[in-house]
């Protein structure tokens, strides 16, 4: 008996690392976080731009008309800025497009100073566009919606919906069937 225990422990600590040496944490998977401003139509006098403060990784973008904020590199955590349309002339629009295309040549500070100079106000900060969940998670994506107010800075979404896949049935049904069979076996034996 003792020899068997020692053999199993040796197996655990010497043999298993060889077959499981991958340092990647594959117990997690990446999922998208979709962010949408639901009341963007209430602000026809503003253009909304989104920008992450991480240089060389997070280009400035204009928020789509339907309020979709779009996706960014996971460490960008961008903010949304509201810019009065009156300040958003063709010249500014072209400059923002240039900053978007040549984003590696603009420092974060330069972009932020420019946004402020044309009247940009932060309305949402610290937006996440992706996250990691355990591989076994039933969550397939996260849908965040924001109801903005030009005079406030939102730090959290107003509503979050997390659609789930059908693994939930597997997690409930299989253990239930197994438990019924185990109880049946134990019951039959005791009878």
């Amino acid at each position: 008996m003792k020899n068997k225990i020692i053999a199993v422990i040796i197996f655990v600590f010497l043999v298993l690392p060889v077959i499981s040496a991958d340092p990647l944490d594959v117990r997690y998977k990446g999922i998208n976080i979709n962010n949408q401003i639901t009341n963007i139509q209430d602000f026809p006098d503003y253009v909304f731009v989104v920008y992450g403060k991480m240089e060389n990784m997070c280009p400035i973008k204009v928020v789509k008309e339907n309020g979709e904020i779009g996706y960014y590199y996971k460490f960008c955590n961008p903010s949304v800025y509201a810019i009065p349309k009156e300040n958003f002339n063709e010249l500014n629009e072209n400059y923002i497009l240039k900053m978007q295309q040549d984003y590696r040549n603009f420092t974060g500070e330069e972009v932020l100073v420019y946004i402020t100079s044309i009247g940009g106000k932060e309305v949402i900060k610290n937006i996440q566009t992706s996250t990691n969940v355990p591989e076994a998670s039933t969550i397939t994506e996260i849908n965040n919606s924001y109801i903005i107010d030009i005079n406030k800075v939102l730090t959290k979404p107003n509503n979050t919906i997390t659609p789930k896949n059908n693994l939930i049935y597997f997690y409930i049904l299989i253990p239930l069937i197994a438990l019924i069979l185990i109880v049946f076996i134990i019951y039959k034996r005791r009878k």
Partner: protein, 102 residues
């Protein structure tokens, strides 16, 4: 890798490794050992993964799995508590170790 395939491989790996430990320590019909090991894992593995995916708390969940499996091994194989929990401890030590490593 697709999540479903990953989970299936994960389950099969857990089942195979625990079966090996059961076969080493339990003297009984092989088919019975394999079937009971499958039932025990079919009960604990999905629940452990489900709760882990929501709560994290790896150690607490592994401890609960160890206790539940120990009790089920004791009941299904008519072993002493000491031996049943030793088997449960060793089989979960292996699977927890793999869970950490891969």
């Amino acid at each position: 890798m697709n999540s479903y395939v990953f989970l299936l491989i994960n389950f099969l790996l857990t089942f195979i490794l625990e079966t090996i430990v059961y076969l080493i320590f339990i003297r009984d019909k092989k088919i019975k050992i394999i079937l009971y090991c499958f039932l025990i894992n079919a009960f604990t593995w999905p629940l452990a993964n489900f709760f882990y995916s929501f709560l994290g708390m790896f150690y607490l969940i592994e401890f609960l799995v160890f206790v539940i499996e120990g009790f089920l091994v004791f009941e299904l194989f008519n072993l002493s508590y000491k031996k049943a929990f030793l088997i449960s401890f060793l089989s979960n030590l292996i699977t927890a170790y793999i869970g950490f490593s891969i």
